[in-house]
Symmetry: C2
Subunit: 257 residues, 2 copies
Amino acid sequence: MAQLRARPMVVEAVRTTAPCAGCEARPFSVCNALDLRDIERLSSLAVIISVDAGRTFIEEGDPAEFFFNVTAGTAKLFKLLPDGRRQITGFASMGTFLGLAVSSTYAFGAEAVEPMHICRFSRTRLRVVLDEFPAMEKRLLEVASNELVAAQEQMLLLGRKTARERLASFLVSRAAALPAQDTLLADSPAPIDRHGPLRVSLPMTRSDIADYLGLTIETVSRTLTRFKTERLIEIPSASEILIRDLALLAGLSTGMR
Amino acid sequence: MAQLRARPMVVEAVRTTAPCAGCEARPFSVCNALDLRDIERLSSLAVIISVDAGRTFIEEGDPAEFFFNVTAGTAKLFKLLPDGRRQITGFASMGTFLGLAVSSTYAFGAEAVEPMHICRFSRTRLRVVLDEFPAMEKRLLEVASNELVAAQEQMLLLGRKTARERLASFLVSRAAALPAQDTLLADSPAPIDRHGPLRVSLPMTRSDIADYLGLTIETVSRTLTRFKTERLIEIPSASEILIRDLALLAGLSTGMR
DNA sequence: CGTGCTTTTGAAAATCATCAAGTATAGTGG
DNA sequence: CCACTATACTTGATGATTTTCAAAAGCACG
């Protein structure tokens, strides 16, 4: 049960200019709450950081000094037990805002699964901006509310769904997040009505998927293989899956059979 | 696996005056963000509702017309699968704010486990107040952030902890919430250092506990019995538990043995 | 073209769920 | 006030899904 993990080092800051105005992630992020004029203020506070795949950039329990905004790549967010058991609580991709904890320390860790670009803000300095622009605070509340809904859905999955239902849910949610690969801002009911095979990429390892779904890598592998033999999916490579029957998978994800 | 449940009727509104100024729950709730002068504005929007034990007052999927603030009693919040499997995502007690969903429908249901008093606000009308008082919006963001942290902790529990660890975690969190019985606003590190037996009340049924912890009622019962034979707790009645060794239980809850 | 890591596959083991009574508790009506 | 009934809780025996242990097969990278 207990698999101990090496503790990766926290990434060191790599300072760069922060051109918020031309930021590709802005349309997907809380920063969009500000208009171009105010964006300048934000730019002056932001530091852009590059994070290599596998690097931890938030350490659970560390003083929560910064807020982060993901502008490229994907991170896994996780909590650990003393013996090394890990629960991944979510994946953060372009536009995701991190660090909302009220407490003085981070309640979770974050590690890049792909090379990332992250926009980093000092908490204290961003707080001033938030007080100045209530629109951004409002947007943050929306984001937090959406995350809360997603968290409740994940609790349902972890507490009550079978391995099969968990994997089906995971694949469906990955498909629903296309092309914006971001569930947190999925305000509109994603248009998942297209037919034909749907290509979803899985930048995370089987181990990550297992720790996200509360399973072991073996169960993840076996279940995916079974989906394949049942012609629900194809697995061209380990990091890529073709969904052949999304509706059926969606049914499976809620216990229909 | 699938136990179907009768669908309880939604409670009808029981209109009463809303004396926010003298509200016992205010110190524990978001309403505290307003000073006495502004509280009057709030009062004019609130309707106090009485809910009998067992009554559902939020139906998952219904249009999210209202916000709620619990002023007395306890509710369980839950999500259902089509076949009746249920996941309780949390318990709401005095001071808890409900209905934060951004979407137009409730993402979860809520049912009273004890007779309750609830303060009800129209979403559209409360929105006006929020725009007027940024302090309250800020307080809401804090609340949402704290709930998010609690949700991540629960994901760790549901995804990675054993039955024993889950029950230990549950009892410890009930003890930590004393006397304010409210985890959501537990901003300060709860002073759990007192020794001697600690009395925690469990107003919810074993079935509720099971659905909260992702277990069956039998496993809940067996595990509590085992704690009793191990002298960790006493069980004077089904709805009351004496914790004899909180530190040991706290250790158990994170996998120490 | 090794070498190391990830993934897949197989067999055995374990935790927790299910099925099944039996016991306590609470609420109801006589 | 007490018996009666319904519900909740406990306890036991059995079973199944998932984990654990083990090893082979793929794949990526130097």
